[in-house]
Symmetry: C2
Subunit: 376 residues, 2 copies
Amino acid sequence: MTDFMTGTRQRAPAARERRGAVGDAGPAPLDGQEAAALLERTRALVDPALRAALDSLPGAMRRIALYHFGWEQADGTPAAGNAGKAIRPALVLAAAGALGGSRARTAAVRAAAAVELVHNFSLLHDDVMDRDTSRRHRPTAWTVFGEADAILAGDALQALALRLLAEDPHPAAGPAAVRLADCVVELCEGQHTDTAMERRAPDEVTLDEVLAMAEAKTGALLGCACALGALYAGADEEDVAALDGFGRQAGLAFQLIDDVIGIWGDPRRTGKPAGADLVVRKKSLPVAAALASGTPAAAELAALYGTPYAAGSAGDGGEITRTALAVERAGGRDWAQTEAADRMARAMQELARAVPAPEAAGGLLALAEFVTRRST
Amino acid sequence: MTDFMTGTRQRAPAARERRGAVGDAGPAPLDGQEAAALLERTRALVDPALRAALDSLPGAMRRIALYHFGWEQADGTPAAGNAGKAIRPALVLAAAGALGGSRARTAAVRAAAAVELVHNFSLLHDDVMDRDTSRRHRPTAWTVFGEADAILAGDALQALALRLLAEDPHPAAGPAAVRLADCVVELCEGQHTDTAMERRAPDEVTLDEVLAMAEAKTGALLGCACALGALYAGADEEDVAALDGFGRQAGLAFQLIDDVIGIWGDPRRTGKPAGADLVVRKKSLPVAAALASGTPAAAELAALYGTPYAAGSAGDGGEITRTALAVERAGGRDWAQTEAADRMARAMQELARAVPAPEAAGGLLALAEFVTRRST
């Protein structure tokens, strides 16, 4: 299962062989093509519901939301659209389909749109708090419309999300809204922990804390997406919990890979400078594991992370390379890759519990693979 | 009906006579005592649901929320509690009671808590955007916990509000959640308009815009509170709309009175310096009406509002007194008081449409009176 977490776009030949060549029309091939097709079908199903929801917003809220989703320019003229990969709504639909077939999948479209709205509400707010200036290759909403309007547009998207479920007559809509609201609270606590940890010294942050934060910030919504799909398929509590576990573990695997890429990713593939996460002294999972290793390299890393870079020296290569090497020598890279494989194995176990038939589980597997292989 | 909008705590003798002396035990006396008793009963009914909801939050979100509600100090020790007047939940319960009796009132407790959570979510966010440093005689949450955490706690409160309705098995809970979510969107657009107007020149803001903003920011949630109560009483669409109209119009009357107090309120009663709204050049309703009057005083006012105060001169008396006089001579004060009376009359008409029996309408009337007479 190591191919789940290579951290690059290249597929291992063994995996390719096992699954048939790209373009193979066999049943549920676990390659990027199936995921890409699923994501495309998801956009076709969910985008109309999303657009209708955004179009229901009043003037300024609609303008900011359509800009954030990539459907409009800042001046209100139409844009080609780059509203993200729709992984979360695809998980909702794939989970509904896996447990309830095409009827459940169709019934879950509103829930899929609701999950995507929650995701985008949290992006709008996180970008304000993290002072991120770029998102999906465009200036973030707060840099264009101001902080207040970005906060308000996020608030409106959260309301829209829960409104979509409140007006859905499906019997799963109520329990789905409860889960989605709980997930919002978990996202908030996760974001709080993340920003609070950034202010603490490297040796004051434990690996367990970083793992819990990653689960809350990344795993929770992927788990919630899968759980909502299961609810719309009429699954029992146990299967809903298993699907939630599948999404959470896959989300953690994704975060581990993403953190490996944030240190060792190829700038030509990531579009970010080498060691981007090290430049901003991010307490990512490999760094936290390295710091906790008790090795001499851990002490070196703590010293490197504990002192500010000299002005102008950040990202110049020497210091970043030395920091990356310290993380690696302290075992941070190996740990992250092993942990990602372990999380992916746990995800598979959870999935097999609820969806034993491989042909039914195919879509969810393809999506889980897709998110843990992305390099940007 | 001028006694609805005197803008001070003093009750006109005529009104006192009409309604019986304070303490009179007659049916539905429209005095402050009935409102105070209603608010106290509301707190007793709704606080346990609110506390349970806040206690369900994880660590940091709970701490910030409990501080904001006045139930904890910043360090987590218990506080005496000053969670506001609970006017909105009282309106939910009074509306439910007026249309459906005590059973409906009891059934609507969760909805009442949800409305109060939405109110507090919007306060947390508005305080961040408006840079307000004091709320309910304590430092605002963002000044204590930072902006990011105040935003996150607000997000969590919105989620909690809609969660309360999502888990409520009452048949009104779904339509109530739709209305509450719509109200959140309206609050957001209102807050956007407010902050956007503050950046515009005085003569670029029309009275209609300021009225629409006040309806969105203040009227919408009071209307929503009453509408939710009606929904829980099983009222038909027409009565729900009438109750919404009652709350909206009463909310506008309240805002008009509040704006009059912001200019001419007695500092000993308001706890704010004289002309507080003029000092910050707030485009309040009396000011907007004065500017739109086409009088020589309007031109004077536009000039006064259009130039920054000399450093240190704001609030020194002379300039503020002159500005207040200009608003008054341009007719802003008279307009606001007449408009408040008119809005209150419209509120009464809406209420009479849905609740013709005076004894049933008494609670709602008492609350509407209470909110339009407050002086702080």
